[in-house]
Amino acid sequence: MLSWLEHRPFAIAIAESTWLFPITETVHVLALTVVIGAVAMMDLRLLGVGNKDRPVSEVIASALPWAWTAFTVAFIAGSMMFCSKAVSYAANVPFRIKMVCMVLAAINMLVFHFFTARGMATWDEGRPPLSARLAAVFSLTLWVVIVASGRWIGFV
């Protein structure tokens, strides 16, 4: 399956071209830094570190479109790079750690969205409850590990 993916014409094109891989990687880095920045902005507001004078809902509403748009771009660029060397990426330990952390970050986000954020009206302008602050700590930790493991893919 992974080998089949690697032998698709577009995957071969990325692997063989001099500039397609660096360009795709640059787009990936640009998009992922925007994702991290937007996520950090929401998390830091939940933790009371930044944007303290703005309601949580307003900070989330302004940062979420950036996070999702950039995530879509990073996901597409990342998938393109994965296809070009699918077999070796799948066997790469930092890559696996990165994927696990992305799944955990998604679960953390869903729990926050469907459970913790339900009572947001009561703490929108003030200090979020412990559950919300914990979600922010998990999120920040996971995204730092995602960046670090992503960077380590090329070093092992």
Binding site: T26, N51, W66, F155
Partner: protein, 160 residues
């Protein structure tokens, strides 16, 4: 410049950093996390200056709130960037993508100082006249282009 690189690479500090396998990826990770902070603060501000986002605080309010965070992140970027140069001087200092990146960084800093100073002058500064709106839009576009250019040049250091 090559002589300076050779001298730097021969220092105890450079040899020590280069000898640690974890050092470069760790410092690069911190560098990328700080870039994230710069991009989101300037990106949101630039979109507001360009009227691409219409809701939310006025540009000068965002500037007052975000640019101090930009400077904090930039401080981390300069420190981590310096550590990477000390570790691999020739890879960075002799590289044209790196040199282009540094020129763009200097221009972006000057541009951001300009936006910060103008924003502190009066409430409603960027919407006070059509001229000011155009100026804000031009600065916003220039800032976005520089941000993208800096990240691209930074990543391309490894390829040119």
């Amino acid at each position: 410049m090559q002589d300076f690189c050779d001298w730097l690479a021969a220092t105890t500090l450079s040899q020590f950093f280069a000898g640690q396998d974890w050092f470069v990826p760790t410092v690069q990770t911190l560098h990328i996390l700080s870039i994230a902070m710069v991009l989101i603060t300037l990106g949101m501000l630039d979109f507001r200056l360009l009227h691409l986002t219409r809701r939310g605080p006025a540009p000068e309010v965002l500037a007052g709130r975000f640019i101090p965070w930009t400077w904090r992140a930039l401080t981390v970027l300069l420190v981590t960037g310096a550590l990477l140069i000390i570790t691999e001087p020739t890879r960075e200092l002799m590289n044209n993508a790196f040199r282009l990146k540094m020129v763009m960084v200097v221009v972006l800093i000057l541009l951001t100082v300009t936006v910060q100073r103008a924003s502190a002058r009066e409430p409603g500064y960027w919407n006070a006249s059509p001229g000011r709106r155009r100026l804000g839009g031009a600065l916003g576009i220039a800032s976005l282009v520089l941000c993208v250019g800096i990240v691209a040049a930074g990543r391309l250091i490894a390829y040119v």
